[in-house]
Amino acid sequence: MKTSWPDILFFAIVCGIALGAALRVVLSKNAVHSALMLALTLFSVAVIFIAQSAPFLAAVQMIVYAGAVVVLFLFVIMLLGVDKNEDLRETLRGQRPAALGLALLFAVGTVGVIRLYGSGAPQAEAIALGADNVQLIADALFTTYLYAFEITAAPLLVAAIAAVVLAKRERPAKSLSESREDGSA
């Protein structure tokens, strides 16, 4: 199957946006900007999902991820009032070069391994994952992965407990904790 130039171009643009936005997530001084850029990255990834014959996932990505998760991030940022610009200068000696070096090496290493991976040509054009996508996913979800699907209930339960245990304010706990804390600090 021949690779056409428009395809490549489209791919390059989407990936460029995704990577650029991801970089902005990392480099923005303001956490709100980071969150917005995260939304953009997630959106680009959704586009890539469509291109990869996963339209249903793309929809979920938009609704759940870009919609709910990023909003949750934004909500917390606003709630805590940490939407001011930060000082991005590094305070830990050697942290930044080490981090960049490691990330770079990791990228080089994985890319190298992927290059060694082989064929490279998409072989699945014939198999229509895109058509009947929802049906296919439902099929797999309720047969092969039924048990895994049921088990996801448990982490969700933990999330609910976490919210109750950690975020709920309790009235008498305050004074008690303060008196105790001097001993342990």
């Binding site: 991976y117 439902a138 092969t144 109750v164």
Partner: protein
């Protein structure tokens, strides 16, 4: 109980079937083996019951009801596991629910182990947390959910289920670590644990993705078949490495160990006992399941790496433990060293090594639980006194506590007649049998050094005069004493008549597919 679940499951399955329109009609849900999924299902339902009871139980009784429900869930799950075991004895090992859940001796034994750990967590944790006034009704729910996750780590036959299980118990532990949410140290430890845990999980997941990309499936049986067919593609090599990052993080292997001492120091002692025994055991059983069983054909590829990891882990664990002055950090580093020993068992990759590892996990769980129970009693309110110096003269102040701690420390050091010695011996012996001489040599050197810092604590307790005023350490309450007594019992009984457990391990037919 099983019947009730049965009914529920059938009902839910038919609901699902009815609600799913499809070209060919309904999706045919797979045959669900309710006995096989019962142990975890009961625990999850138990957790749900704990959360839902709020509306039904009067306020005064809620705490009690929570604990009772938790214990009940664990007992019921234990019974279900027993039924499963019984079925295995008739020779029906295999997989259940579309091949995603392994049902074999290894899984079942591990389930019993984790249920025991969860029982200990409630037995020792509830009174301890009450003492600290940070006990909450949700604690038993988190314990049983974590237990369910850890049990699935052992039973999962699919990497994606392993990922879910790993996240399940990790998330529960993040919350537990943050239980004393208003104190700075627990907060710090929860934050560190959570951030690094999420970071490491991402690596694990990447590894799963690459494994899927090579083998075409995340199912361990398919992966084993794939590897059995011949050479290992490069990308799978990276996959094995990244999976090891995630599991290495959970067991506390070097260099993924750095969270261990901080979290052990900061989190409430009652929780740390659970974390130290449970999370480590869960990581080890998953390593055994994935590496020893599924990746068995690739053993020549991973053996040197696991061995190197083991050596580095033992070395850093014991050497850094030497310079610690905080008992909880010391136990943290010691648990890192123990992760190194356990990796020897993974490297050996024989049925004997597997049962030796399980034996090790059982005895380690008893010892570390006991040790942290004592730390929680001695260190007093808010874990205020955790310096090793705070244990000076404990033998005079609280002779029984000092004696009990001595038993646990000797066990951790691997000195007979404790279970720690037998565990180390059978593990090393299994490794020697599979030709890993040099690794055992390193393990032996590490345990020589390790004995020193355990002994140091004992000496401080027995030999040094107490410093300053008598610390306000309470006498342990009866339930904590009972828990400690149980832990001592296990440590000594397994040390003196290890056969009690060995025969179970041998009879449980711990054959995993691929071995």
């Amino acid at each position: 109980m099983i019947r009730i679940i049965n009914t529920l499951q059938v009902a839910s399955a038919s609901l699902v079937a009815a609600a799913t329109p499809s070209a060919e009609g309904v999706i045919r849900a797979p045959e669900i083996d309710y006995v096989a999924i019962a142990p975890e299902a009961i625990l999850v339902l138990g957790a749900l019951a704990i959360l839902l009871k709020k509306g039904f139980v009067p306020r005064r009784y809620r705490m009690m009801a929570s604990v009772a429900t938790g214990i009940l869930a664990i007992c019921a799950s234990l019974i279900a596991t027993g039924i499963l075991w019984q079925r295995l004895a008739d020779g029906a090992a295999g997989t259940a629910v579309s091949g995603i859940l392994a049902v074999d001796g290894f899984a079942v034994f591990s389930k019993v182990l984790f249920l025991g750990i969860a029982a200990f967590a409630i037995l020792l944790g509830v009174p301890g947390l009450r003492r600290e006034r940070i006990m909450r009704e949700e604690y038993p729910a988190l314990v049983v959910l974590a237990a369910a996750g850890m049990m699935l780590m052992a039973a999962s036959s699919d990497l994606i289920l392993t990922f879910l299980a790993l996240e399940l118990f990790s998330l529960a532990f993040y919350v537990l670590a943050a239980f004393a949410r208003d104190l700075p140290r627990p907060q710090e430890s929860a934050l560190k644990y959570f951030l690094l845990g999420a970071f490491a999980s991402a690596f694990f997941l990447y590894g799963v993705a690459l494994a899927y990309g090579t083998a075409g499936s995340t199912n361990l049986t398919s992966i084993a078949d794939f590897l059995g067919r011949g050479s290992i593609p490069w990308i799978f090599v990276a996959s094995m490495a990244l999976i090891l990052v995630g599991l290495g993080f959970k067991v506390g292997a070097v260099p993924f160990h750095m969270w261990v001492p901080d979290v052990y120091q900061g989190a409430p002692s009652q929780v740390v006992g659970f974390l130290a025994s449970g999370a480590k055991a869960a990581g080890v059983v998953a390593l055994l399941r994935i590496y020893v069983s599924a990746f068995h054909a690739a053993r020549p590829s991973w053996l040197p790496v696991i061995a190197g990891l083991s050596i580095a882990t033992m070395a850093v664990g014991v050497v850094v433990a030497l310079v610690q002055s905080d008992i909880k950090r010391l136990l943290g580093y010691s648990s890192i060293a123990h992760a190194g020993y356990l990796l020897i068992g993974v490297a050996a990759a024989t049925p004997a090594a597997t049962s030796a590892s399980l034996f090790y996990l059982v005895s380690y769980a008893a010892m570390i639980f006991g040790a942290f129970a004592i730390v929680s009693v001695v260190s007093g309110k808010g874990d205020g006194f955790t310096r090793i110096d705070d244990f000076a003269g404990l033998a005079r102040r609280r002779p029984m506590l000092a004696a009990a701690f001595t038993v646990f420390l000797l066990g951790l050091a691997g000195i007979p007649p404790t279970a720690g010695f037998i565990a180390k011996f059978v593990l090393f012996q299994a490794a020697v049998e599979s030709g890993l001489w040099w690794l055992v040599l390193c393990g032996a050197v590490a345990s020589v050094i390790a004995a020193y810092f355990y002994l140091r604590v004992i000496i401080v307790m027995f030999v040094r005069e107490p410093e300053g005023e008598d610390l306000d350490s309470d006498e342990p309450d009866p339930i904590t004493s009972l828990g400690m007594g149980l832990a001592i019992g296990i440590t000594l009984v397994l040390g003196i008549i290890p056969q009690a457990l060995m025969s179970v391990l041998a009879g449980a037919d711990l054959v995993m597919p691929g071995l």
